[in-house]
Symmetry: D2
Subunit: 163 residues, 4 copies
């Protein structure tokens, strides 16, 4: 059984056709897992629905707490890409490699609802990495898994790169 925590991010942004703006409603995770015909046993919980640029220290503390209280040793967190590395750092401070928990953060560059999204690819990737990687905190983006302190997001290209 894998625990999935939803925190918002581009992954789950939608288009409000009355206001013409982007907003958060419900997570698309269950629909995405159905589309991927996933048969991995998961339990999904939504912690918050925020743009990761708006994520506060209190939000990060809440994510850490949720991971601590989760009985499952394997956890996927969907997260905005802009501060994903920062949240991974907050998690790594509490869950060192020896903690027994494998935590994988993932996200998307384009909202799932917008057709040309990388979300389904990233979800397949994160859900696979979390099943086989040793305990630790990782980012799964661009088809790769990065240890939390070995990665940075290149703001000019939108690509996650090894340090």
């Amino acid at each position: 059984m894998i625990r999935i925590f939803v925190t918002g991010g581009t992954f789950d942004k939608e288009y409000n056709e009355l206001s013409g703006t982007l907003f958060f409603k419900d997570t698309h995770l269950p629909e995405m897992l159905r589309l991927g015909r996933s048969r991995v046993e998961v339990s999904i919980g939504t912690l918050m629905m925020v743009d990761s640029l708006d994520m506060t220290d209190a939000d990060r503390a809440l994510i850490v707490d949720a991971c601590r209280e989760a009985g499952e040793p394997r956890i996927v967190i969907t997260h905005g890409t802009d501060t994903m590395v920062q949240t991974a750092g907050a998690l790594a401070a509490v869950f060192p490699s020896g903690s027994g928990k494998t935590i994988v953060l993932t996200g998307a560059m384009v909202p799932y609802a917008f057709g040309s999204s990388d979300g389904l690819f990233n979800l397949g990737s994160a859900l696979s990495f979390v099943q086989v990687l040793a305990p630790g905190v990782y980012l799964a983006m661009n088809g790769r898994a990065f240890e939390w302190n070995q990665v940075t997001k290149n703001r000019h290209t939108g690509v996650f790169e090894s340090l």
Copy 2:
């Protein structure tokens, strides 16, 4: 560097709007990797474009040969789902766990070109599993990785299940 061999399967079926039938043209792999913003270094080769129900022993021998000649220790093979297990068996006979090669077969239940496909999810999954699994032959379907001799496709549900 990961080697990807394309053999056809539902993954790459398209709709011929003049005849109203399904057919194979070119593989969608490069487009799918672009959509997934994949930065995994890959080298793609198309071995054949066939429905896996039409795959012959000669086709399987060709796939085995291609894997033998590939210098890369990590290989993904896109394949129709109906005889994926059979091809995995042919590969396992030649590449035992001690062979040093990690080979992951994957496919799709719905063509990538048809919108509601599981293909992108499966590709993200296969590409992730192949980077971390120990040498051996595996199937990546439904978000899970199965050892080649521990899995069967349930024809009534379309789901891959552990033996």
Copy 3:
């Protein structure tokens, strides 16, 4: 109020992921009208779900009868493209220009369910033409309206052309 009769055709073909073949289930018309935010008052009836190459004289008689019994003076018929002209001819024999009925047949080259379909464009077109054209029998394809006896489908290009 506009009457819409569904007869099948490429419009409504779906992909059966267990058999890997195309088949008919339910019509996508209501979903398409919802996607198009259509507020045209319509009443939808499914007469049959067949590939128009398999349509028989009895099927055509049934379509003619349904149009005769319909109280609405404006009718859209979704139909396979291969014999759309033939069915239009059968209708025109019964509903001459003086009959008071405006009947517009339309269809699609690619199934609506397959993402890259012309179906939504054609439906918007047919529903618009039927509201303003004088009584008679027409085909709405390729953004144009053709009188039933002034059109042929070019089998090599898939395009409807004026005679």
Copy 4:
């Protein structure tokens, strides 16, 4: 030959994956006409690429001028929905019913690039209405054609309604 003028609007909004915001790049009109297999002869010109809430009197004067200079008697204008009625009024002041020009404005509630758009339906509708309606200025939305002074957009539902 039908003239199509592009002015922006939701129709052509795209998602900037680096900034996470909506923006305008190029019009999707040619791609949409290709998807719809349209064979209507058209000539497309982009006048501006703006959100219709940002459209100025100068912008509207430019649209009126473009229609005046266009040799074609039949014109489609893609436009944001929020001030479409206002631009239609500016056009009607210059092109009365007796002017010989049939002008149809259309738009979309959801960007074409976002998958679940009404854009293709509306384009099929506008392109059809413009071919058959008498000279005058109209809006084509929700599958219906409205005379410019007989319609209002309901801001709460996003639906265009008859006055």
